[in-house]
Structures are given as C-alpha cells and as structure tokens.
C-alpha cells in the first residue's frame, strides 16, 4: 500500500543528485569505521539535509513547507552536537514534525483506510 498515492509519480531527484548522495552514503559507511560513534548520527543528518536541498525545488508545496520547517532545527542540531541532550531533543522534534506531516498528508488523518 502506498503511503502517498498522489505523490508516487513525482520525480524529485536528478541522476547527478542521486549519485552524489550515493557517494556520500558509501563514503560515510567507510569513514564511520574510524570515526567516533556519534558522528554516525551526524552523517545521517547531513545526508537528510543533502536530500532536502536536492529535492526542495521539485516537491509539492506541502512537502516544501515541511522541508522549510526543518531548516532551523537541523542547523541547530549540528551546533548542539556537543550537548547530547539538546541534540537528541532536536532530532526527536524533527521526527515528530515529519511523522505529523505523514499523518496530515495521508488517509490516516481521516480515520484510515
């Protein structure tokens, strides 16, 4: 079952952007073997930010609003990495915000299928 039936056919990533993300994730997988454990979280956050910047101009207005709403929090999360409690709280808020978007954009909002 598709979570977002109306968005399924939208192409929001170019081949070049996909390749850049692919290379970033592969390189992160390798460097993380040597890097501090907390960096793994930061790399994933950076990957999410890259994805956001790549797709921003080609998504629906609703998705663009979600992406814009995450701007400040992701930036702050990087700054507060040295404060694990604040960093965790920011990531939790980002997850909540995104989950709420999923609900708002799906049939679940109206009681589910």
């Amino acid at each position: 079952m598709d979570i977002f039936p109306s968005k399924n056919k939208a192409t929001v990533l170019t081949e070049a952007e996909a390749l850049e993300l692919f290379a970033f994730l592969l390189s992160s997988a390798r460097t993380q073997i040597d890097d501090p454990a907390l960096y793994a979280s930061m790399r994933l956050l950076t990957a999410a930010e890259k994805l956001r910047e790549f797709i921003r101009d080609r998504v629906s207005p609703e998705t663009e609003a979600l992406l814009s709403n995450t701007d400040e929090l992701t930036t702050r999360a990087h700054i507060y990495m040295s404060d694990l409690e604040a960093y965790t709280a920011d990531l939790d808020e980002l997850c909540r915000m995104t989950a709420q978007f999923f609900i708002d954009q799906s049939d679940l909002k109206d009681g589910g299928s």
């Binding site: 970033f24 390189s27 460097t31 890097d35 950076t46 700054i79 507060y80 040295s82």
Partner: protein, 180 residues
C-alpha cells in the same frame, strides 16, 4: 613572540561556511611555504601537499568527504610519503609522520588565518576514492584535507560547536611531577 602573532593563534577558528570568493594564488603559495617550514621528525620531509583548486575536482573530492561541511575554494591534501618513511628507516609503527601531519596542518591554518582566509581540516573522507579522483601514486596516503576559503560573514568569528565551558590552558596543564 609578538602580541600580534599570539592574537593570530587565539583568533583562528575552524571555518565551516565559506564564500565562493576565489582565493588568490599567492596566498595559497604562502600557505604551502609556511607548511614547508613546519617542524619535521629528523628533518625528513614525510608530508606531501596536493593542491586541488579545479572546481570539478573539488566537487568530486567533496562528494567523497563526509567530514567536509564547507565548500572550499581550495583543498590542500596532506599525504604521507611512505617512500620517504622507508628510505629514512623510520621504525614500523613510528608515529612521527602523523605528528608531522598535525604540525603542517596547524601551520597552514595559521598561515591562512594570518592572510584573512578561513580554513578547516577534515579527516573523514574515503582515502580510496580520493586516490582514484586525484590519481595519487601508491607511495602517498591521503591523511588530512585542509579546506581553504573566505569565511562567510556569519561564520567568521564563531566556534562551529558550542561548548558549555571554555577550556583554559590551566585545564590542560599539569606542572611538574604527579603526586603518587
């Protein structure tokens, strides 16, 4: 030591947000010259500098460098030359080349800062990918990327990460013998 030089040391920051303003070639050369004057174990020069300024090459290097947050106008890749290490009979496991790396890195970053440039090191990158992208010879291993560029205004005087308490030299120092 002049007060000005001390101030250069104390005001340098790792810059993670750089503008697209090109860096003057003579400034890069001064940074490289400063790196050459760094202390080196046994006065053997085990570190090689690979300068990357071509925009396409820079972009490729960046793609395979998860630790590179900035978009630099130049990257000076510091490599250990293992031919020199072997020729000079460094013992296996000798960390001297890595100490030299740190000295070169810091000297270059200070030279960049003294010329009004920002800099930032990165070690999280795929060595094998960079070997391919830059066609590095087998005797060189890429160890540290020194990113160079002009700091974006908001980043010019900021620490990239907040610290709850500023560390002082006293925090890091112990005088004389430790008590038993």
């Amino acid at each position: 030591m002049s007060a000005e030089f001390l101030q250069i040391i104390k005001s340098r920051r790792v810059i993670r947000d750089m503008t697209d303003q090109p860096v003057e070639p003579e400034k890069i050369e001064r940074i490289l010259d400063a790196g050459r004057w760094s202390p080196a174990a046994g006065n053997k020069r085990t570190i090689r500098f690979v300068v990357v300024q071509d925009p396409l090459s820079l972009q490729m290097v960046r793609v395979f460098s998860p630790g590179m947050f900035q978009k630099p106008q130049a990257v000076i890749l510091l490599c250990i030359d293992w031919d020199v290490v072997v020729e000079n009979q460094f013992a296996e496991g000798d960390k001297s080349p890595y100490i030299d790396l740190g000295a070169v890195m810091q000297t270059m970053m200070l030279a960049a800062h003294a010329q009004g440039l920002g800099s930032g090191p990165a070690t999280s990158f795929s060595k094998e990918a960079l070997r391919v992208i830059l066609n590095l010879p087998a005797n060189l291993t890429p160890e540290v990327e020194v990113c160079i560029g002009y700091a974006a205004p908001k980043d010019a005087n900021q620490l990239p990460m907040l610290s709850k308490k500023r560390v002082t030299w006293q925090d890091l120092t112990h005088w004389e013998r430790f008590e038993s």
